[in-house]
Amino acid sequence: MIGVLEAKYPFLDRAVEMVGVLGLRVEELVGFGDVVDRGFERVSEAILRGVVSYRGENPEVEMLSFPVALMFVSLIGDPFLDRRYALAEGKRAYRLLREEAEEVIAEVAESFNWNIRLRRAILDGQLYSFELHFADYLRNASGFHEDKWKLVNRVMRNGYVLLTKAEAARLLECEVENLILQRVSRHRRIELPGELEKRVEMLKKLLEEHRGQIGGETLPERVDVEAFPPCIRRIFEAVLAGRKASHMERFALVSFLLNAGMSIEETAELFTSISDFDPEMTRYQVEHIAGLRGSRTKYKPPNCDTLRTHGICQNPDNLCRRVRNPITYYIIKARRGRRRRGKTS
C-alpha cells in the first residue's frame, strides 16, 4: 500500500492522504518508536548537516516520520529552524528527483500544479527533457542568481522554457522548500506526551549548540564612503554635485545609507543641501524608507539584479561579481579596508 514514491516524497497529496487514513493521534505515536526516532533524526540531520537523508528500508516509517518531523519543528517555533528544516527537506527531494525517470519528475511537478510537458530536445549537445510554462519557471527560478537561470538566457518559445532533468529537479526543490516552510511556520501549541516532549527539548538544545555557526557579517562603525560600491558611489556623488537623480536612484541611495548606519538626520541633510529639494518632503521620504512611516517596514537597498534592471548598476568591479546586494559589497570592502589600514598603522 505504501509505495516507494510516498516514502521518497511524503509531501505529495497522496502520501498526506494516506497518513490521514491511518489516523494516528499524537498520544498513539509513542507506540511507534521507529517513526518517532526517524522524525527526530530528520530534524537533527537538518540542524547538523543541512540535508535530510533518505532511508528506503522501511517505506512506512520513512513516510510517517515526515509529519512527525513537521510537528517537532513547528512546536519548537523558531523561524531559523523553520528555514533550515525546509531547506534540508528540499535538498533531500532534489537528490532523489535528480535520479528519477522523466515521468516521475513530471508527476511530482504536476502535484504542484505545474504546467509541464515532456519534450526531448538536444541543443548544443545538451539533452533537454521538459518544457515548463514560464510562470511556473519564474515562480521558482527568479530567486536564483546564476546567469544560466535568468530567463533571458533560456530557450523559450510560445511560453514554454526548455529544462533538463536536473534543472527540473532543482526547481522542484524550491517548491518543496516553500511548501514545508508554509506548513511549519504555522506554529502551534499542543500538549505532548512526556516521551515526545523530551525529544522536543533535545532538538531545541541541539539547535542552540549549532546556531552560532552561521554568524552574520558586521558593519563598520562609521560610514565609510571609500567602501561604497560603484552604483551607490555614482549616485552619491551626483547628489552631492546637485545633479538630478531618478526616483529609483534616490531610493537606492537612501536605503543604502540608512542600512549602512547613517542617521535619518544626516541622510535628509544630504538631500536638502541641494536648493531644489523641499526639506519637509525629503525628511518625509527618508523616514518612510527608514520605516518610521507608512508601511513601517525598513527598506533594504534593492538587490543588484534590480539595480541592473533599472540601469543603475554601472561599471561593476570584481568584487561586484561576488555580491547580490550593494550592502554586502560595502561590508566586505569596508572589512578589507580596515585590515589594510590596520596593517600599515
Binding site: 538536444i122 514560464f134 527568479s142 535568468k150 533571458v152 518559445r157 538630478k244 526616483h247 529609483m248 534592471t309
Partner: protein
C-alpha cells in the same frame, strides 16, 4: 496649464464627450483602484472604486477630470489605504513612451527652460543645466508623427516577443492602447501572470530588454561545432541581432560600442567572414577571430538595438496606476484609445484619437511648432490670433500653448 476660462471650456467639452458615450472598463473593475487628476491640480484623488461602468461614467460626467487612471492590480478592498488593500494580483503592464526613445525630431519640437537661470534649449531636457547646474526645468513637449512612429515600432517589437516567446494570445490576453500623448501601453491580462511577484516581473523586463544576456549560454562557446537554431527566443534573435548590427556597423558605431579604434578597424576588415559565420550558425568560429571581451561588447550593442524600449519601473511596479483606455488625456484632448493588435500597423493616433470635431474656435497662440491633428497640418504659430477647427484649438488649449481670444 490653461487658466480659468479655458479650463471651463475644456471641462465642458470633456463633459459632452463622457455624456454621450459608453465607457470602456477594465476586467473586474470592482477589484481595481481608480484615481483622478482634476484640471489645474497636481495631486491625485485616489483609492476610489466603482462597481459598474455606469457609475464610473456618471462620475466622469460630473467631475470631468483631466486624467483618469486605474490600477493594474486587483484588490480585495480597492478603497482601503495601501497597506490594507489586500493585493490579489496584477496585470502585466508595459509602457512605451517617445520620451525615452531617441528621435532626431525632438530638437525641432521640444524645448526646455532652466528655472534657475532661464537658459533655454531645444530637444531632450538635460540632467542638469549646462550653465548654472540647476536641476529643474520647464518643459515643452509636442506630439509628432515621427516620435509616434518610433514608439509604435517599439510596441511592435514588444508584441513580437510577447506573442512568440511568451505565448500570449493577441486576441484574449493582449491589449494595446495609445496613451493619448506620446506613446503606447500594452496590457497583459492572463491568470498565468497575475500573481507573479516583483522578482519574476523583473525577469520578464530583463528578458525583453536583453539585460544580462550571456552569449555563451546561447551557443557562443569555443567547443561547439554548430549552434542549434530554430528554437526561437533570444537564441535565434541574438544571431539575427548580431548579424544586422554588424552588417550596418561602421567605425563610429563600433567605437561607440566600446571598442578601441584598432579593434574596430579589425572587425571591419573581417566583417564579411564574421557575417558568413553567423549566417552558417557556427559562432564558435567567431571566437577564433575575435576575443570574448570584444564579442561581449558587440552582443551588448546588438541586443540594445534589437530590444524594445520599455519603461522598467512601470512593469515591475505591483501597484501601478495607469491611464484608463477610452478616456481623454487632459494635456492633449486626445482619446487614450484601444487599438487592436492586427491594425496597429495602420493606426494613426493623430487622426483616430481625435475626440472633438465640428465648429471653429478663435484662439491666441503663444507658441506652437508645426503640428498635425486630424490629418491636417497647422502652424507654426508664434504670438498670433488664429481661428482653428475645434480639434486643433482644443489641442492647443489643453497643452496650455494657447488661450481663448478676446
Amino acid at each position: 496649464m490653461a487658466a480659468e476660462r479655458e479650463i471651463q471650456l475644456i471641462s465642458e467639452k470633456f463633459r459632452e464627450f463622457y455624456a454621450k458615450g459608453r465607457i470602456e472598463t477594465p476586467r473586474e473593475m470592482e477589484r481595481r483602484e481608480f484615481g483622478f487628476i482634476p484640471f489645474g491640480a497636481k495631486a491625485m484623488f485616489r483609492h476610489l472604486s466603482f462597481s459598474t461602468p455606469e457609475d464610473l461614467r456618471l462620475y466622469l460626467v460630473k467631475n470631468t477630470p483631466a486624467h483618469v487612471y486605474y490600477s493594474s492590480a486587483y484588490y480585495e478592498n480597492p478603497e482601503a489605504e495601501m497597506e490594507r488593500k489586500g493585493w490579489l494580483g496584477a496585470d502585466l503592464i508595459f509602457d512605451i513612451d517617445a520620451d525615452h526613445i531617441e528621435t532626431p525630431c525632438k530638437a525641432e519640437h521640444d524645448r526646455w527652460r532652466c528655472k534657475g537661470c532661464g537658459l533655454e534649449g531645444r530637444g531632450e531636457t538635460p540632467e542638469s543645466c549646462p550653465r548654472c547646474g540647476g536641476i529643474s526645468f520647464e518643459e515643452e513637449k509636442w506630439i509628432c508623427n515621427r516620435c509616434l512612429d518610433a514608439a509604435r515600432h517599439e510596441a511592435q517589437k514588444l508584441l513580437d516577443i510577447l506573442i512568440g516567446d511568451f505565448g500570449f494570445s493577441p486576441i484574449d490576453e493582449l491589449e494595446v492602447s495609445f496613451t493619448g500623448h506620446r506613446g503606447y501601453h500594452i496590457h497583459v491580462s492572463s491568470p498565468n501572470i497575475r500573481e507573479l511577484d516583483q522578482p519574476a516581473r523583473r525577469e520578464i523586463v530583463d528578458y525583453i530588454l536583453g539585460t544580462g544576456i550571456k552569449a555563451e549560454l546561447h551557443g557562443f562557446k569555443p567547443s561547439l561545432e554548430r549552434l542549434t537554431t530554430g528554437e526561437g527566443g533570444w537564441r535565434d534573435r541574438l544571431i539575427k541581432a548580431l548579424y544586422d548590427y554588424l552588417e550596418e556597423a561602421d567605425l563610429k558605431a563600433l567605437m561607440e560600442a566600446g571598442l578601441s579604434r584598432a579593434t574596430a578597424s579589425k572587425i571591419l576588415e573581417i566583417k564579411d567572414r564574421l557575417l558568413q559565420i553567423l549566417w552558417d550558425g557556427r559562432p564558435s568560429l567567431a571566437l577564433r577571430l575575435i576575443r570574448r571581451r570584444t564579442l561581449d561588447k558587440l552582443v551588448e550593442a546588438a541586443v540594445e538595438r534589437e530590444a524594445s524600449a520599455i519603461d522598467t519601473v512601470v512593469t515591475t511596479d505591483l501597484h501601478r496606476l495607469i491611464r484608463l483606455p477610452g478616456t481623454l488625456h487632459g494635456k492633449t484632448g486626445l482619446i487614450a484609445q484601444r487599438v487592436s493588435v492586427e491594425i496597429l500597423d495602420d493606426y494613426d493616433p493623430l487622426v483616430e484619437a481625435v475626440a472633438f470635431k465640428g465648429g471653429m474656435l478663435k484662439v491666441y497662440v503663444e507658441r506652437a511648432p508645426r503640428f498635425s491633428i486630424g490629418g491636417v497640418l497647422y502652424g507654426p504659430y508664434i504670438g498670433e490670433e488664429v481661428e482653428l477647427p475645434m480639434e486643433a484649438a482644443l489641442y492647443l488649449l489643453c497643452k496650455g500653448a494657447a488661450r481663448l481670444a478676446g
